[in-house]
């Protein structure tokens, strides 16, 4: 008993930093997550409660991230986290009121389309599939390039600035880099951020840049070559470059 609990703690601590370990742990405890969800929904997740299951899995992952040894056993902690997250979810859904009722029947559809989308869907369906596969390919390529830098998307997400001010600072760096494409080229060639030039040019603190290095690498790479879909998605970020996108 004690030994198994102990091994869970070890696994959880490993999963905190290693996304693959986290995936493994979640796969291992899928039954637990499912049972916790069923306790709450009183129905099998397959009967239109897939969202709840997904949210429960997210809650389990959050529990992994926030768990500390001193807080007692992990599984009760995770159970509590799942329960709280599902309660939050239901409250949020309730607040939406009628909008949900439109969504609900569509949620069961496997396509993931929405009711509003279904109206132009007849026209867009093939196109949407195409776009999706195109963007899939692009994102995979982007991910591969990031991997060459030793960075995964999970790392980028963890490294992403959460404060609006920091985000603005990073955006300044990006703007500066885009105004000087040679800096972007250097990034691709050397695999290193030209810190000094970027800091001097954008007026951003070097320490801030250092802290969000992975994020900056990702966002700058997105503006190097190709990646038009991603750039198109970021059109709010790139009003100057109106030509891009579809």
């Amino acid at each position: 008993m004690v030994r198994t609990e102990h091994s869970i703690v070890g696994q959880v601590y490993e999963a905190k930093t290693d996304p693959e370990a986290a995936d493994r742990l979640i796969g291992q405890y899928m039954g637990f997550i499912r049972s916790e969800t069923v306790k709450f929904t009183h129905a099998a997740p397959e009967d239109g409660h897939e969202d709840e299951l997904s949210i429960a899995m997210l809650a389990f992952y959050e529990a992994i991230l926030s768990y500390e040894k001193g807080r007692g056993a992990f599984l009760p902690y995770a159970a509590r986290a799942i329960r709280n997250r599902l309660i939050d979810h239901y409250r949020a859904e309730k607040r939406h009121g009628n909008v949900i009722s439109l969504h609900t029947p569509l949620g069961t559809e496997e396509d993931g389309g929405e009711l509003l989308d279904t109206i132009p869907d007849t026209v867009d369906h093939a196109d949407a599939y195409e776009t999706r596969t195109a963007s899939q390919r692009e994102i995979q390529e982007f991910g591969a390039q990031l991997a060459a830098f030793g960075i995964s998307f999970s790392d980028v997400a963890d490294n992403c600035p959460r404060q609006e001010r920091t985000l603005a600072a990073c955006r300044r760096v990006l703007d500066h880099a885009r105004a000087h494409p040679e800096l972007l080229d250097r990034l691709v060639e050397t695999g290193r951020l030209p810190m000094n030039e970027l800091a001097a040019g954008s007026g951003t603190d070097k320490k801030t840049m250092e802290r969000h290095r992975k994020y900056l690498v990702a966002i700058l790479l997105a503006f190097t070559n190709g990646y038009e879909i991603i750039r198109g998605h970021l059109r709010q970020l790139a009003p100057a470059k109106g030509g891009s996108g579809k």
Binding site: P19, D23, F60, S66, S135, S154, A157, L237
Partner: protein, 300 residues
């Protein structure tokens, strides 16, 4: 706000929002390349709460350490907890901490000062210091066989005091018990110290009884001799027959003394009368006979 799905995991997906943020959110059956609208974002574990008490914890820990050092080490070792007084003839008082460390040494009389002069008590405990002081006293000739060493312990802690007295006595008796007498409590040679002196206020002498006008009244101005509240300057002393206030009228004239003072005394006349009477009495017997005779003769 729409999000581009960048990466999917069983429990979460990495999404890119339109402002360039990379987010982790619940993977609601997303596929890479999807553009999604409503997401359930991952709540990053709050690292704030420990940050709040972390700087304080350092201070608190430091304070706790200081408290520990103070109450656990400093206070029992370096604060005065009681005094131990050794009276031989030299009178010496030791200030002792709770853990029997000698903190101070005072000579309470001259011999005591002499005894402790040049004696380093620092860092010694009560037992050592007391033993060495007695030894010093023997060496310096203050203490010889059969004499008494008196030990008095004073402290607010009665238990500690009793224990300390007991231990001090035992220690000294162990070392010098054969030669000297160890006694607890103040030296008995000073009963005056314990003697209760009741201050008796001596009866205040009557402020010179009021001199009668006649005898030996000084010819001074009676103003100086006024007493108490009646010192109005008006006294009966003016009625004296002496000094400048004398009215010159004395009542002595009425007394018989005046008659004597003329130098002419009637002693003879008065004595004569008495003497005559007595002599007459003597004669009278005879006279009576004669007179009887005479009477008889007259009758005849």
């Amino acid at each position: 706000m729409s999000y581009l799905v960048m990466e999917t995991h069983p429990a979460y997906a990495v999404l890119l929002d339109e402002e360039g943020r990379f987010l982790k959110a619940a993977n609601l059956r997303y596929q890479v390349g999807d553009t999604v609208q409503d997401i359930v974002e991952l709540q990053p574990p709050k690292a704030k709460s420990p940050a709040l008490w972390k700087p304080l914890s350092g201070v608190a820990g430091l304070a706790a350490c200081l408290c520990l050092v103070f109450f656990g080490y400093y206070q029992p070792n370096y604060t005065a907890y009681g005094t131990l007084r050794i009276q031989i003839n030299p009178d010496v008082e030791m200030t002792v901490s709770r853990t029997d460390r000698v903190l101070g040494l005072d000579g309470l009389n001259e011999d005591g000062e002499a005894l402790i002069a040049g004696y380093a008590y620092q860092g010694k405990d009560r037992e050592t210091a007391a033993g060495e002081l007695v030894e010093r006293a023997i060496d310096m000739g203050y203490l010889s066989d059969g004499e008494t060493v008196s030990i008095t312990v004073t402290s607010a802690d009665a238990d500690w005091q009793a224990r300390e007295e007991q231990e001090a006595r035992e220690d000294l008796e162990e070392r010098y018990g054969q030669t000297i007498v160890i006694q607890i409590g103040p030296l008995e040679e000073e009963p005056p110290a314990t003697e209760i002196v009741i201050p008796v206020t001596p009866p205040t002498p009557e402020p010179t009884p009021e001199p009668s006008p006649e005898p030996t009244a000084p010819p001074a101005i009676p103003d100086n001799t006024d007493y108490g509240t009646s010192g109005d300057g008006v006294t009966d002393y003016q009625d004296t027959d002496y000094g400048p206030y004398a009215d010159g009228v004395t009542d002595y004239t009425d007394t018989g003394g005046e008659t004597y003072s003329d130098g002419v005394t009637d002693y003879e006349a008065r004595d004569d009368d008495d003497w005559d009477d007595s002599r007459d009495d003597g004669d009278d017997d005879d006279d009576d006979d004669s007179e009887d005779d005479d009477d008889g003769g007259d009758d005849d």
